[in-house]
């Protein structure tokens, strides 16, 4: 059972309010570019944690690697 980039994108967008994500990957290694208004005022660490938290224990396991780039976006 492998994960698709689309699935990751959908889960990120469903979990982080107002987020939009671009995800690429090969089923085990993924890269996500995520922008969300929630990131504003947060440290980079906190922004990345918010994205990691969407996947809980899957990162490092079924999702072998998830490279993250976050961008705070304007409130819609």
């Amino acid at each position: 059972m492998s994960t698709t980039p689309q699935e990751l994108k959908d889960r990120i967008e469903a979990s982080i309010p107002g987020a939009s994500a671009e995800v690429t990957g090969d089923g085990r290694h993924f890269a996500a570019i995520v922008s969300a208004p929630a990131f504003r005022g947060m440290s980079r660490i906190a922004q990345h944690r918010l994205v990691y938290d969407v996947f809980g224990g899957e990162v490092g396991n079924t999702i072998h690697a998830l490279s993250i780039q976050t961008k705070p976006s304007e409130e819609p």
């Binding site: 980079r44 660490i45 990345h48 990691y52 224990g57 990162v59 780039q69």
Partner: protein, 131 residues
Amino acid sequence: MTEESSNPISEAIKSAIAENPVLLFMKGTPEHPGCGFSARVSAILESLDQPFAAVDVLPDPRIRQELSALSNWPTIPQLFVDGELVGGCDIVSEMYQSGELQQALGLEAAESETPEPEPVQSAPLSIENRL
């Protein structure tokens, strides 16, 4: 917060973080990194001539488990500066490029001895002589 205080690995990680101002948890060693992300972060620190301590998480899976539990960060590598998690490969690379990492490490923000940009040699006039 009732914490089992008798977890030797967790305790060892905590004291390593407290005792080493710049500490990298990585897969493998700086000389023989075991993964590209770990290799990148250790190469960045080396390129800055930043002395750092490194812990290889590979010999015992519990190191990684306990570290992630402590730091609330799922992946390796993890760079700690002055006891604080700075980030993994993505954040460290981004901060290196923007100069924030050098700042966080207390390094001179690479007083860029910007060499005078080479004056662009304008192409010698190409005069068409129609005389």
